[in-house]
Symmetry: C2
Subunit: 446 residues, 2 copies
């Protein structure tokens, strides 16, 4: 039944209007509002809901149905925080004033992942919870976009509360509108923030240039050591232990539907920007990366200022594959950058508190198979399987701490500008997602 | 007579309140206001003043006394445009609302160089112009801070109007408060703006990272080729033809008073940021540089966004020594950066329209000697001579086109944050500058 429930769009709008940017220092009060909004919404859906606030960082929203020992327990995971967004980035309309245009809702968090958070809540509300074949637990966090710095500790602290047979992550997405795809893996994550410091002030490049050290120059030099001229990773030690893709994994990637032209359009890239021989699914799913996410020195936007800038900053992040530990890689990267910056520069190099372990789940996992059956019923065809290039800390973390697997079960499409400008979700995503969650909760397809 | 004339501070405040940032696209109307303000002020001082507006770019303010063939003609040069400045750069008070604190006037353009523009105007106003031993011509431009892209053409067009025996540039500064210094050289200038383009939009670094090209990475790599690990210039061909400092030049630099601790304080640098063996005056005056003035990719200030940024930009500028032609070096640099960026990236690499030739004037030049005598009378001691690291297009341009030399005759001090945050001038700069211009105009010290 592919329908949008009454009240869904109003509730989604209300939730999207709460910014909740976990990367912003001043974002905390909005995150608190979003958590409380979700707690009340879960109560209205008939669950027992509360906020878990013993940990540093924003609250975990926890809810459960009446737990009966004769039922399997599903833990539904998601996150209510979003990526930063400002009009200055180039948004068409205010990222925190949802706008409906052409069947799409434009707002930060629309597809990643507030729409996805609401799908199971609305599906649960349609059922007599006592008659469901599952115990349901809900665990929504507010720090995923900063890579869940407190999640490992929280999972240990709430170990008994979170005990379950499987996790279904509402954080995820689909590659195409008419065929499901399920993730057999996620890449891990770690990152750095680097600031190289020169003078306490910007200096006239004529008066001081040649004698005053230039931190932008030192930063560019240090960053240049991470890749070779072709853009391949050149950082010594980075690939140590990283699993090479197995033939089975590569075969599975090759079985995915892949239209180069569609992918280029989604990526906003010209044909000649990417080698025709590039195996996109392998590169994004099965190989690690080191990316420069942002650079800053000397206020470029303010126009020509002939200065030696007082400082230069970069944010780097890595995506990791099995065999790479995020803590180990972060230290390796930090040390390499530190060594590459000449000794006479002061510097701050901070490992981002968030991290994520690489994750794998077997295609034959029974909950993965249940999800596949649900998607087959929804789409009228079997789903494909893929390895996601993205990172969600929860699956790796809960596998480590509680020994349970996570099925990635999200419903936005991958062209919906997640993390980018003009993020949106489609009304058709909601219809499809509702249909899937309705079936899953009834275990109707299992 | 070291006094500030009546009306000077009010006029300086009025002129500083007109932003006039030549690097800003929207800066033109303010520049027009500043030019007209100066024209009227020169009229009030008794000169015949008009705006020269036939060239592209902002107007040249031209004024002259009644020209008598039996007198030598001095051309007074200056610029009424300023560097960009915004509160976001960290100013204590609005850069375009002058603030007087502790005997200092804080505003963009205070020392560079609106205070200096007004000194000869107020000095001229104190005299019967018909009785002066000089013909005076004034030529103030509004494009110096973008390195005077139209100046060569303007000098050719107004060749007859500008004919003179010597140029005195009001654009300049002094190293110390109690001893004059006169510049025997300026470095040349050329620059580039580089934008490397990836996608049309920021991309999720998980979903796309590893397949989508990262322009920030390509930019860092390209920039890293310009210097070696010690920060020395490594760009092949850059030093071709560049004059090595002569022993006489080096000797002259060594004769300059130089206090390392003072210089470090002025530069805002810790002692260990600069080698104790660095010959600062040689590095800034006699050697060329390539500086990264600004970097930008992915909106660093907006917080952690795990993206492959859609583009990455840098602004570079070079300071040049005799034997280096700014046009030739700009093309060399552009080609090197272009080659270093892999072919699959779109890019825009623009040579900055402004440029400046390196410049030298002999210590024995009679107008240079006149200036030295004036400063000796003002300060009660002989001035020193130095090579400036800065660039002013006019001296090299007018030497090429009209064959006249330029004396650099400005009165701010070098710690007054030219081009930086919290630029200021001192009331004592005005007192000293007025005394010098009063003597020079009477030729009293000659």
């Amino acid at each position: 039944m592919k329908t949008i429930p009454e009240g869904f769009l109003a509730d989604l709008t209300a939730l999207l209007e709460i910014p909740g940017v976990s990367a912003w220092e001043h974002g905390r009060s909005d995150l608190d509002r979003a958590a409380e909004w979700l707690r009340q919404r879960l109560e209205r859906a008939g669950l027992h809901a509360r906020l878990l606030t013993d940990m540093p960082g924003s609250a975990y929203v926890y809810a459960e149905t009446d737990i009966r020992p004769d039922r399997l327990t599903l833990l539904l995971y998601g996150h209510y925080d979003v990526q930063p967004a400002t009009m200055a980035d180039g948004w068409t309309s205010d990222p925190f004033r949802p706008a409906l245009r052409d069947g799409k809702i434009f707002a930060r968090g629309a597809t990643d992942q507030k729409m996805n958070l609401l799908l199971p809540i609305f599906a649960l509300a349609e059922y007599d919870l006592a008659a469901l074949p599952w115990n349901i637990k809900v665990f929504y966090e507010g720090e995923e976009e900063i890579l869940s710095p407190n999640l490992d500790a929280a999972l240990l602290r709430y170990k008994d509360l979170l005990r379950c047979d499987a996790v279904f992550s509402t954080d995820g997405w689909q590659s195409t509108a008419n065929q499901g795809d399920l993730r057999l893996g996620l890449r891990g994550f770690c990152g750095l923030e680097i600031t190289v410091k020169g003078s306490t002030k910007d200096l006239h490049s004529g008066t001081f240039g040649g004698a005053a050290p230039n931190p932008a120059q030192a930063l560019a030099k240090a960053l240049s050591l991470l890749h070779d001229a072709n853009g391949s990773i050149a950082l010594p030690g980075f690939m140590d232990g990283a699993a090479s893709p197995s033939e089975a994994e590569r075969q599975l990637v090759r079985e995915q539907p892949f239209e180069r032209a569609d992918w280029l359009a989604r990526a906003g890239l010209e044909d000649d920007a990417v080698s025709p021989y590039l195996a996109v699914g392998e590169r994004t799913g099965l190989y690690p990366t080191i990316e420069i996410n942002a650079l800053e020195a000397g206020n470029y936007a303010a126009g020509l200022r002939t200065i030696v800038p007082r400082s230069a900053s970069a944010r780097l992040s890595c995506r990791l594959v099995p065999g790479q530990d995020p803590d180990t890689v972060a230290v390796l990267l930090k040390d390499a950058v530190d060594r590459a910056i000449p000794a006479h520069f002061d510097r701050q190099i901070a490992i981002l508190p968030g991290k994520s372990r690489p994750y794998r789940i077997a295609r034959e996992d029974p909950f993965q198979e249940l999800a596949a059956n649900v998607l087959t019923a929804v789409d009228g065809r079997k789903p494909c399987f893929s390895y996601s290039g993205g990172s969600i800390p929860m699956p790796g973390a809960i596998a480590s701490t509680l020994g349970v697997n996570t099925v990635i079960f999200g419903f936005g499409l991958s062209d919906e500008n997640m993390h980018g400008v003009d993020e949106f979700c489609r009304l058709t995503d909601i219809e499809r997602g509702m249909a899937a969650w309705r079936l899953l909760l009834q275990r109707a397809a299992g």
